[in-house]
């Protein structure tokens, strides 16, 4: 029984998972660094996220070795949150649709970036100088 001895596992396993988590983090950062956009960005970011979360929960938090009574108590209740997320996504899409339709905002508007704000005056001066 795990309660008698505590959760003891070979150190090598922890080192391997540790390295794997570094690699997965580097992969998710690479998605942004190489500016992957669109559906591929969503797919890659969420895949790396779920893999990282899975290894942390299963190995570092030892859920893989726990008896099912505890594992289901931990993993079961949060699954209802998936329903909340789906409902809010559907509802949110509907609300934004009606707002664009009736409030006259531009759906293709682009946000400003720090360089737009801080660099603006500077660039104008340079252009005038030329």
């Amino acid at each position: 029984m795990s309660s008698d001895t505590g959760q003891q596992h070979p150190l090598g396993l922890y080192y391997r998972i540790w390295v794997l988590l570094f690699v997965l983090s580097a992969c998710s950062y690479a998605v942004d660094f190489f500016n992957v956009q669109g559906g591929m960005r969503w797919f890659l970011v969420i895949m790396f996220m779920l893999l990282k979360a899975g290894f942390i929960i299963a190995i570092f938090m030892h859920v893989f070795w726990e008896r099912l009574a505890l594992a289901f108590t931990i993993l079961g209740p949060p699954t209802v949150l998936l329903m909340l997320i789906v409902f809010m996504a559907v509802e949110g899409n509907y609300i934004s649709g009606t707002r664009y339709l009736y409030m006259g905002h531009d759906p293709n508007a682009v946000a400003l970036s720090p360089s737009d704000l801080h660099g603006a005056e500077h660039e104008e001066e340079e252009e005038e100088a030329h």
């Binding site: 505590g6 949150l81 997320i85």
Partner: protein, 227 residues
């Protein structure tokens, strides 16, 4: 029953074990009570953070203003070079992963009753955590003072960006801060030998909290900074 006589599946319990545990008269979870309570707390905390992230999903979907581009806002340049996108957040992510590794090792050495290694690994974990929080302080002050981001508005786009950012990263930062204090407290008690008789489950319980803080950051990193 000797450990070797019991196969891995039986030790694990399986579906039969699940039925046995839940139909037992006395006790369902065969773990120390502190560990069961920590798990129940963490499950409830999962609900809090998921509600925050779902709220973020909803305001981001429903706002008609464009959402600020995170990789440009959180870019940082070193020595006057071109800004590197999200570099500080990436460093913070690696620091938290490092701290999770040292914590996992601390739990392992705790069960081996190696007090010295457990103490120092927990201190290393706390030090990583403290450096994470100080980087977050740097990030917040840069956003507040240089970029003019406020909970009620910002110069880039949708006003909800600021409120979501401060609420979610602030709540996570508070968890890290509390975790650093908790880890140091447990570490010094380990060193004093408080758990020599009681057993070292407390290190695993503290570890669960710390891994959870790292886990939450995995989701914040993906949803708030990358997507």
């Amino acid at each position: 029953m000797s450990e070797t006589a019991v196969s891995e599946i039986v030790r694990h319990g399986g579906i039969d074990g699940l039925a046995d545990d839940w139909s037992a008269d006395k006790q369902t979870y065969h773990v120390p009570w502190g560990k069961a309570m920590m798990w129940i707390f963490l499950v409830s905390d999962t609900f809090i953070f998921t509600c925050f992230l779902t709220g973020y999903l909803h305001v981001r979907l429903t706002t008609t203003e464009p959402w600020p581009v995170q990789s440009e806002i959180f870019a940082l340049s070193f020595g006057g070079g071109d800004p590197i996108p999200l570099i500080l957040i990436a460093i913070m992510t690696f620091i938290l992963i490092s701290s999770s590794g040292t914590m996992a090792l601390a739990v392992n050495f705790g069960y081996q009753k190696d007090k010295v290694k457990t103490f120092w690994l927990m201190c290393a974990t706390a030090a990583f955590g403290a450096s994470f929080v100080s980087m977050q302080v740097f990030e917040w002050s840069k956003l507040i003072l240089e970029e003019g981001v406020r909970p009620w508005g910002n110069p880039f786009g949708a006003a909800q960006f600021g409120s979501v950012f401060f609420m979610i990263t602030g709540f996570h930062g508070a968890h890290v801060t509390i975790g650093v204090i908790y880890l140091l407290w447990v570490a010094f008690r380990v060193k004093r030998g408080v758990y020599d008789d009681k057993g070292y489950e407390i290190v695993e319980i503290a570890g669960l909290y710390w891994h959870f803080v790292d886990l939450v950051w995995v989701f914040i990193f993906a949803f708030f900074y990358l997507l």
